[in-house]
């Protein structure tokens, strides 16, 4: 018990500099962080991935998945309530004990880092196939990761400010797809319920792994102003993301015929490519530029969280140097990883299957331990009396 208190104190002292950072973020900025960390690479190929399973009912899977994610978010919300002023990296040792806590922290950092690798690889893959056929992968990786490091090395307040402005890009991203409705045929998704309940539920897996990002609030929650720290911002943010994803899936489902959608890897881009206006052509390129901002924000927030984790473990007050070191390490890893279609997909599959442990499994177990501990402490207090 004493050792935990001691550890607690040292962490608090070490985190003193960061404490000034904490409690600074407002409600709306919290919403935009959630949106920006959820919307990322997955949005492009989501329709293609869920159609083989859920057929025309894929859009129902997206809504269902939004509800499942909300459940996960609720677990995280209650867990964060047990230690309102600490990040996961700070409270994990308190709840699970020193060694297990350290293990949890390290595995989370590994999870964040591997997510970063996967996102960068997928981003590279899309750009390589759509615009930059000749540009070496590593150049695109350097550009996007260095840019992320530049933002992520700042305090969360500055990052958050960037995020709240860049929500405009997400809205533009949706506005750009509206003209595609000129070729729409609602009959492609009828009759509703054609795939059957089991297939609709099965397809939620693909959606779940595309709207990851909420688990970062295990780390970011203490930075939000206490009086603004309401459940509503997590709800609003998640609903916003779910609505956008549903819109994207629905649009592509009614524009492309069922068999066609199985062939096209990025239906939303493909749909825009075919549009032609008087002055504008190749709308997919506009979409890709806006989408890059969404990918960038996802990378930034994962990078920031992992840098924060490493600096907490190393007991460093500032995370700037750590951020750049992480990026250099990631670039080296990315350089040596195989980059063909199958291995990227395999890696993405492994990481996304593991994600359930980190988004729901560990938070749930921690919450269970924390509440049991509290229960025992109450009993102890009663018996002592």
């Amino acid at each position: 018990m004493q050792s935990i208190e001691l550890l607690n104190r040292t962490i608090q002292e070490n985190g003193m500099n960061k404490m000034s950072d904490k409690n600074k973020i407002t409600w709306w900025v919290g919403v935009s962080i959630l949106i920006q960390s959820q919307i990322g690479v997955g949005i492009l190929s989501l329709s293609n991935k869920i159609h083989p399973v859920a057929k025309g009912d894929g859009w129902i899977s997206v809504i269902l998945s939004g509800m499942i994610v909300q459940l996960f978010i609720t677990i995280i919300w209650y867990l964060m309530k047990t230690n309102p002023n600490k990040t996961l990296f700070e409270f994990a040792p308190l709840i699970a004990g020193k060694y297990l806590g350290a293990l949890i922290n390290i595995s989370y950092i590994f999870y964040f880092l591997s997510t970063l690798v996967v996102i960068t690889l997928l981003f590279n893959d899309v750009l390589k196939r759509w615009i930059f056929f000749e540009t070496p992968n590593i150049v695109i990786s350097i550009l996007i990761l260095m840019l992320s490091a530049y933002i992520a090395s700042e305090s969360l307040q500055i990052i958050a400010r960037f995020f709240s402005i860049s929500v405009i890009f997400v809205i533009l991203l949706i506005l750009i797809t509206i003209p595609a409705f000129s070729f729409f045929d609602i009959r492609y998704i009828l009759p509703v319920g054609q795939a059957g309940v089991t297939n609709i539920i099965k397809a939620t897996h693909q959606v779940n792994i595309s709207i990851l990002g909420f688990e970062l609030f295990l780390i970011l929650m203490p930075f939000i102003k206490i009086k603004n720290r309401k459940y509503s911002f997590l709800l609003v943010g998640n609903i916003f993301t779910t609505v956008i994803y549903t819109f994207v899936v629905f649009t592509t489902f009614v524009v492309f015929s069922p068999y066609e959608i199985k062939l096209i890897i990025e239906p939303i881009l493909y749909m825009l490519k075919a549009l032609q206006f008087k002055l504008l052509d190749r709308m997919d390129l506009f979409f890709l530029s806006l989408w890059s901002v969404s990918v960038l924000t996802t990378l930034v927030i994962y990078l920031y969280s992992s840098a924060l984790g490493i600096s907490t473990i190393l007991k460093k007050a500032k995370h700037k140097k750590v951020t750049y070191l992480i990026v250099i390490m990631l670039l080296i890893i990315i350089y040596f990883l195989p980059k063909d279609m199958n291995s990227i997909n395999l890696l993405a599959k492994i990481i996304s299957n593991l994600s359930y442990i980190f988004t729901a499994g560990i938070p749930f177990i921690l919450l269970l331990i924390a509440s049991l501990k509290r229960l025992f402490r109450k009993k102890e207090a009663l018996t002592n009396d």
Partner: protein, 374 residues
Amino acid sequence: MTNTKVCFIILSLFLLTGCWDQHLLKNTRLIYGMAFDLDAENKIEETIVIRSIPINPDTGMANEVVSAVGDTINDTRKLINEKISGEYGGSKNQVVLLGSELAKIDIYPFLDNFYREPLSPLSAKLGVVQGKAGDIISLKEKDQNLIAEYLTELIRNGEEKRILPIQSIQTICTHMFDEGKDFGLPLLQFDPKNRAVEIQGLALFDGKKYTENFLTPDQSSIMMLLSGEAKSGTEFTYKVNEENKENWVYNYVSFQVLKAKVKKTISSTSSNDFSVQLGLDLAIEIDEYPKDHLFDEAYAKELKTKIKKQMGEDAEEVISLLQEANSDVFGYGRDLLAYHSKQLQGNKLEKGYFKKLDIQSKIEVTIEQAGVIY
């Protein structure tokens, strides 16, 4: 600013000078139109037209036509690249013509490359040519117009006049893979004697194959009214009288559709048997009717019934032509899948379902306007 920062900026300038993915206009030969044909040995012959700028600026723009024979589209591209002075640039292509012999087999293999390459223009127009498509491209110019521009304008004009459905390479793809809807492509005809190209009608497709049946422009207009694609602007000229032998123009009436409303009800008679009740309400405007007398109500009514009768006959002919070709341009298969899937055997469309459909059409006509005179 510290020295390291300055150094970093200067050094990074070296990295920013180049780009891997530059497509310089001066190195590319922009292709404006292409045609695919089947040659005698069952190989693909591709004919392309490139716009070139001659050295003497007074002569204006000119065209260069190149063709090559190969096994696949990419194979012919490679051969073409050996014949032209610069890189093959397909990104500005406006029109793709397919020879009828080739369209009869399956058109997807010839378009696959367009769908696969991110740089290819999916909004280009497609057409089927009765005979050899390369001959039209080889015209180079058609009365002062460059051939690719001429062809796109020809097709676009047909779309505006509601003779042809509005389509591009991309919209075709959606229907090619749709078991419940077929499509038609503009059918062009080339008259080598007069060097003339004209729209012969709409070539009907069954799945990915050209059925060798086609609708004439008038029939195609009626088809688009029946399918609900054309809602206004379609023009017709009908012969409504036989009386006037000397002044034969008096026998005709020209009108255009102001509003078209389609009502369809699909009912299933027994499992896998369906009937379609197709109602079409037209509000028309008389554009040309030398005989006048429209102020006479009884006379106007008579004219109306005559138009109605002829249109009904035409519609029935169109429907029987479509059923003969098994080309479901109306997309009734989609309707069956979407709203009547329970009555379908195994929730799937059977082959040739369109031929089996019992389609009853009923046309109502009202004369809404007659210009500024009766």
